[in-house]
């Protein structure tokens, strides 16, 4: 360090931050899907990530081929989604959103407990076959794995967008997201759509679980990534996929830049709350989030 500002290091921190932001977005998207259609902030999304990753890796360790394990996990996640709709969502229909939120807290406990009861509490490694050797672009290191994850995220977002735009079910989703009562009036079957969307959130959880699992190892702590996704959601708005992405990028970058450049003034470790602080300050300025819809108060 020669006294001058190390720009290439700055760029590296920024890129690293943006890329880990993508990882947050991956989790956040699962929340958005459910929120958009059923108005529930699903705190259990983190447990679903754990459940998916744990199921997949345990099947893999039982000697199943990758594709079979993936397919079985997929089925398991879809069944889980259906079960949740049936056992939790349907009986609570028309309850206040905050009640549903608290129910998902309970749900998180149930899923976490079951996942570990079924598959045990061991720590598993998960190798997706990507050697995480850093790539160097004129002095700036970029993680291969993170690039891969960003690619997966991009593919997923595109797939979701296409799905929403061009399929019948997707159109139904959007109708429900816009106005549940209207959707109900034109004969869309809400329980059916909810079940589908929870299953879809399960699939998103699987993707997030695989990528995060490969990063952290598959274990209990995986369910804690929900805490990383929440500020992203607050920032981006609970109902916007674009918001989840942009929010993730902003949170990721601020977190890393903050920790590296100003963390020292506070003795480090500020990452644990910086994301929340950023999201909060932002919320005070714009209460409905970056892309959230502003609604007219109906009285």
């Amino acid at each position: 360090m020669d006294g001058g500002f190390d720009w290439s290091f700055f760029v590296e921190v920024l890129t690293g931050g943006l890329l880990s932001g993508v990882m947050y977005s991956l989790v956040a998207i699962g929340f958005v899907l459910i929120y958009k259609t059923s108005g529930v902030l699903n705190f259990a999304q983190g447990s679903m990530v754990l459940f998916a990753a744990l199921t997949f890796v345990s099947l893999l360790e039982k000697g199943m081929p990758f594709a079979v394990a993936l397919a079985l996990t997929l089925i398991a996640m879809i069944l889980l989604g259906l079960a949740i709709e049936r056992a939790v969502l349907r009986p609570l229909v028309n309850k206040a959103p905050i009640t549903l939120f608290m129910a998902t807290l309970g749900l998180a406990y149930v899923i976490e407990g079951s996942a570990q009861l079924i598959w045990g509490t061991q720590v598993h490694g998960l190798d997706l076959g990507i050697e995480d050797v850093p790539l160097e672009f004129s002095g700036v290191l970029v993680s291969t794995f993170d690039l891969f994850a960003a690619g997966v995220a991009a593919v997923m977002v595109i797939a979701l967008t296409l799905f929403f735009r061009y399929t019948r079910v997707g159109l139904a989703f959007r109708a429900v997201a816009d106005d549940q009562f209207a959707a109900l009036a034109v004969g869309l079957r809400l329980p059916h759509i909810w079940a589908t969307v929870w299953a879809a959130a399960g699939i998103v959880a699987l993707v997030a679980g695989l990528l995060w699992g490969a990063r952290l190892g598959v274990q209990f702590s995986l369910s804690l990534i929900v805490l990383k996704a929440l500020p992203v959601l607050v920032l981006g708005g609970f109902d916007s996929i674009a918001g989840a992405i942009v929010g993730g990028l902003i949170i990721g970058a601020t977190e890393k830049l903050g920790e590296v450049y100003i963390g020292d003034y506070f003795g480090g470790g500020i990452e644990s709350w910086l994301a929340y602080a950023v999201a909060l300050v932002f919320l005070l300025i714009k209460p409905s989030g970056l892309f959230g819809q502003k609604l007219v108060e109906r009285v």
Binding site: T99, L107, L227
Partner: protein
């Protein structure tokens, strides 16, 4: 969250008083005489501390309708403030220590309650997580709070009020019981007053409350302040009367959830609910683990039991929200009415 459980509107009617007096009599006389050390130490004292914390959260969540996920942080503020006051200003009378701890927690509560002026529902719930993480970070980070112990762990000084030592197990129990009784009485007074009605008004219909002339912003902050004060005092009990050694990590998000679960299970917007819920949360894991090892023997290890306990607890939350949103209190009242139709 349209909890409709309302404490009896006739606060001075005889049966209520008689029941309260009976409970207090048992708690003050019967329990110290009969309960074993283990029951006091591992069940009753944590029960009292958790009940008080839940009571505090119930003011905010049950009555005023704002969900907070940061209760443990306010407990921590209370505990660490009390510790520092007792340490740095030796000779401060214990009631004053409690009050200072409560006010410190209230101040932090107000600060993190500010977003409530603009946010609602789970935007607000998520924003209270900021308190959770920030406080825990600050307490671990700055070792001033733990008197230079870099690990953040504190040992609490012995309890004594005006020269009377409350240091034995029974002493600590009686101390906790007294604090809880006094605060519960005050909260009871609060919630049946206009302030309490304002809380519920804001919870049930904020627009209507504003139009009527309820000072919405001030009332919301007041709810945060009072709630955090109580939770802060609960933190002092937790640290001074129960554990006597605490670390910031003990006041983690799980603790916050636990307190929220207590009021969901016990009954939102109900004073008794906090106690019912706390009793269940404290006793239930023990019963389950005893029951498990009794029925299944060594078939399952402690991990499996604990996992099942987690599942059952989560399921209980969901079941209560679906089947009995007013919690154990409503169940109890229904049961009582069936058994003693007269009351």
């Amino acid at each position: 969250m349209t909890a409709v459980t309302i404490e009896s509107r006739k606060p001075f009617s005889l049966p209520g008083w008689a029941a309260t007096a009976a409970v207090l009599g048992v708690a003050y006389v019967g329990v110290p005489l009969l309960a074993s050390n283990y029951v006091l130490e591992a069940l009753l004292i944590p029960f009292l501390a958790l009940s008080l914390a839940a009571l505090g959260l119930n003011v905010l969540t049950g009555y005023a309708g704002m969900v907070s996920l940061g209760s443990a942080a306010f407990m921590a503020v209370g505990a660490y403030t009390a510790y520092n006051v007792a340490l740095r200003l030796p000779g401060t009378p214990l009631p004053l220590v409690l009050a200072v701890a409560g006010f410190a927690a209230a101040a932090i509560g107000l600060l993190f309650g500010l977003p409530s002026l603009r946010l609602r529902g789970f935007y607000l719930a998520v924003s209270t997580l900021a308190a959770q993480f920030f406080v825990q970070w600050a307490l671990t980070k700055f070792d001033w709070f733990s008197n230079g112990n870099s690990s953040g762990v504190i040992d609490t000084p012995p309890l004594s009020v005006f020269g009377i030592g409350f240091d034995g197990t029974i002493g600590r129990y009686l101390f906790a019981l007294t604090v809880v009784t006094v605060i519960t009485f005050l909260v009871h007074r609060l919630v049946i007053s206009q302030t309490g009605r304002n809380f519920i008004a804001i919870r049930d219909n904020e627009t209507a409350a504003r139009v009527i002339g309820v000072p919405v912003l001030r009332t919301k902050l007041l709810a945060f302040g009072i709630s955090s004060f109580i939770i802060g005092v609960a933190g002092v009990l937790w640290a001074f009367a129960y554990l006597r050694t605490v670390e910031p990590a003990g006041f983690n998000l799980d603790r916050s959830f636990q307190i929220l679960f207590i009021i969901i299970i016990g009954g939102l917007a109900s004073i008794r609910g906090a106690f019912f819920g706390a009793a269940l949360i404290v006793v239930f894991p023990l019963v389950l683990s005893r029951l498990g090892s009794f029925l299944l023997g060594g078939l399952f290890d402690s991990g499996v039991l604990d996992m099942s306990q987690r599942i059952v607890l989560g399921a209980l939350i969901i079941i209560f929200l679906i089947a009995e949103p007013d919690g154990l209190v409503a169940l109890w009242d229904r049961f009582r009415r069936r058994v003693f139709p007269g009351t």
